[in-house]
């Protein structure tokens, strides 16, 4: 279970999260919705361990372990995975080399043997096919020249390969057309399992028609201000975030 208690976070001396509490039990998918600037991405980065996001108060535990003590790579080994809103392009790093380095680092940290080349290739091919990722995309440097949709599929591919136990998806729907959204959502849904918790961060209800959440939380001004079932997402879609501090467009 992911347990966040009274979390206060500052970035550049500015308070972004202001006493956030929430729990995501294993096997469940929770959505976090909220207006721009409410702290959604900050929560994602804090979970993954990005520097410059200073926790001034509160705690985060995953399966009872304090993850705030861990470095980003240690958190990844402990099962935390952040699907980035804006995956970075890394020229000069071949996608396959990167995937293999990451997978073997995590396997090693979990006490598993490194995968040999044929097994690794087979695994990537199989997972990539399910996400309709062209083999050509895997031959390019990581994310370089990828479209928005390709980058998001690459994120989900990494998630499928690294098999994390806590998946945090930060605005995975942004920049996706309807076909890409469906493919990515199917990829995510395939990873739903009783041993895995998921936190889906999104501004729009649209994604949640595909990845149907068990719970929906509304984040506003750094706090969870309302929680409900999936119907809450639909309600927000109709009413907008006006009452949560965002002016109507």
């Amino acid at each position: 279970m992911l347990k966040i208690e009274n979390l206060h976070v500052e970035v550049d001396g500015q308070k972004i999260l202001d006493g956030l509490d929430m729990e995501v039990p294993k096997g469940e998918v929770h959505a976090i919705m909220g207006p721009n600037g409410s702290g959604k991405s900050t929560l994602a980065y804090v979970l993954a361990g990005k520097e410059d996001y200073v926790v001034t108060e509160g705690s985060i535990t995953w399966n009872g372990d304090d993850i705030l003590e861990l470095s980003p790579d240690e958190r990844a080994a402990a099962g935390v995975f952040l699907a980035f809103q804006y995956p970075v392009e890394i020229p000069g790093v071949a996608t396959m080399t990167f995937l293999r380095t990451a997978l073997n680092a995590i396997r090693k940290a979990r006490g598993q043997d490194e995968l040999n080349t044929p097994d690794f290739m087979r695994l990537v091919r199989e997972r990539a096919e399910a996400l309709k990722i062209e083999p050509d995309m895997l031959k390019r440097p990581l994310n370089v020249g990828f479209s928005g949709g390709e980058k998001k599929r690459q994120e989900v591919l990494q998630m499928a390969l690294l098999e994390p136990s806590l998946c945090v998806l930060d605005e995975t729907d942004s920049g996706l057309d309807i076909d890409a959204l469906r493919i990515v959502s199917e990829g995510v849904n395939a990873l739903r399992s009783p041993d895995r918790a998921m936190l889906v961060i999104t501004h729009y209800q649209r994604l949640l028609s595909y990845i149907v959440p068990d719970r929906v939380h509304v984040l506003s001004a750094g706090k969870i201000v309302r929680s409900g079932d999936k119907e809450l997402a639909l309600e927000l879609e109709n009413s907008g975030y006006a009452e949560y501090g965002e002016a109507a467009a």
Binding site: A48, G49, K50, E51, S71, P72, D73, R75, A76, A77, F81, L82, F84, P87, V88, I90, P91, G92, V93, F98, T101, A102, A105, I106, A109, P141, Q158, L162
Partner: protein, 449 residues
């Protein structure tokens, strides 16, 4: 020598002049009028200029006058005996495995027993420069006598005055040398030595060749290398020209490449610097015929107190030529990198297409990178661009890799390799590319881990 114009003052300057007086009678070509004249003219010119200091614009970042505190003379006597295995060992397994024509200079002297000098057959000439200076063929004489170069500075004066050996290569019209000609400059001397090497490479019309100059050492005693390569490509000639510099830190490496390109010639070069305490690599590129193209790229890696200067002069004198430059530098500790790239586009050089990019990656707060790209454009219909960046490892990229479970040191190493890799991947020869990839990894294993 002409004392009236002697302005030499420093210990090193005086030592250079004294060395010349001491050895001039034994230098190759001493009996040959042209060579003798060239040498005495050069030493007189040196006496007038002395070593350049930082007040000379092109030497602003590399004050040779201040940095050279002594000058070493050439090797005397028999020198160190070197076996083929020593050479291969100094090169490292990858580079030793390169399918090539090997030519070895030990402490500035061509070692015939270690060198393959006869592979060209009727495709041209490959001469031991020391012997050739005594009786230069007409094509070599023409190159030696050609003073029309912007590279006439103290370093080249000293090279001309003291040049003791090297390779004189002529690839005949239409001939093609498939395998790289690998010129190994091996430093083995147990006492401080000054080595002046001159290579002349002439590719006649439509000729093709690939030349790798590597600089490696078996010895860590101080050495001063002054090496000049004079390259001329006739119409339609194609050349790959690479340099790998991995000498010990006690070495000073002063190098001048001068390349003249005739119509439709294609020149593709790469310089890797991963050694020597002080390095100045000058590259002079002159376009003399239309539709020629030159790609000059490089990677330099410095640590501790290393100083690595790459200075380029690109002269677009004629129309419709293209030049591309990409240099990447990785600097740790107190290392200092310098890149000066001057592109001159003369009035006649319409439709010139020239791009220059240089990037420095600083791994330490004490490391320094000075970059001075310069464009001088007198033609109005050209595409020219230059860019220069300097910075540390991108924290966002580092975080992304770490968020995927890759530890910090490995993530840093991956990003540094990727940074250098963007330039390394421009090397066409796979063995050389991989050998340099391995050199970079080895360098990182010592630094980052």
């Amino acid at each position: 020598m002409d004392a009236a114009v002697n302005t030499l003052t420093s210990k090193a300057e005086l030592a250079f002049a004294e060395t010349f007086e001491r050895v001039k009678a034994e230098l190759p070509g001493a009996e040959q009028v042209l060579v003798r004249e060239l040498r005495s003219e050069a030493i007189r010119a040196f006496a007038r200029t002395g070593l350049p200091n930082r007040r000379v614009e092109e030497w602003k970042y590399t004050d040779l006058y201040a940095r050279l505190d002594d000058a070493f003379g050439p090797l005397v006597g028999d020198g160190v005996e070197v076996r083929r295995d020593d050479v291969l060992g100094a090169l490292g397994a990858r580079l030793a495995g390169l399918d090539c024509h090997l030519i070895v200079l030990v402490d500035g002297r061509l070692a015939p027993g270690l060198s393959d000098l006869d592979f060209l057959g009727d495709r041209g000439e490959l001469l031991d420069m020391a012997a050739a200076l005594a009786a230069p063929p007409a094509w070599l004489e023409a190159r030696l006598a050609d003073g029309e170069s912007a590279a006439q500075n103290a370093v080249l004066y000293l090279n001309t005055a003291l040049m003791s050996d090297g390779v004189a290569l002529r690839v005949a019209a239409g001939a093609s040398v498939e395998k790289p000609i690998h010129i190994v400059h091996l430093h083995a001397a147990k006492t401080p030595v000054g080595i002046s090497t001159r290579h002349v490479m002439v590719l006649e019309k439509g000729a093709r060749a690939s030349v790798l100059e590597s600089h490696v050492g078996l010895s860590t005693t101080p050495a001063q290398h002054n090496v000049a390569s004079d390259v001329s490509l006739a119409e339609g000639a194609v050349m790959h020209h690479l340099k790998i510099q991995r000498e010990a830190e006690g070495a000073t490496h002063l190098s001048t490449w001068r390349i003249a390109l005739a119509e439709s010639a294609a020149y593709d070069a790469f310089q890797f610097v991963g050694g020597s305490g002080l390095t100045r690599n000058e590259i002079h590129l002159g376009f003399a015929g239309e539709n020629a193209r030159a790609d000059v790229n490089g990677v330099f890696m410095g640590a501790s107190g290393q100083h690595i200067d790459t200075t380029m002069f690109v002269d677009h004198a004629v129309a419709n030529c293209q030049s591309r430059m990409l240099f990447k530098g990785v600097l740790d500790d107190e290392a200092r990198g310098v890149f000066q790239g001057k592109i001159m586009v003369r009035q006649a050089a319409q439709k010139t297409d020239s791009k220059e990019m240089v990037q420095g990656l600083l791994l330490s707060e004490r490391a320094e990178f000075d970059s001075k790209p310069e464009l001088e454009i007198f033609a109005d219909d050209v595409v020219c661009g230059h860019g220069s960046t300097s910075g540390q490892i991108d924290e966002d990229l580092l975080f992304y890799l770490r968020a995927r479970g890759i530890g910090e040191l490995e993530a840093r190493s991956i990003l540094i390799q990727a940074f250098a890799g963007e330039a390394l991947e421009l090397i066409a020869n796979e063995t050389i590319r991989e050998a340099l990839g391995e050199t970079v990894r080895g360098w990182l294993a010592q630094r980052v881990a």
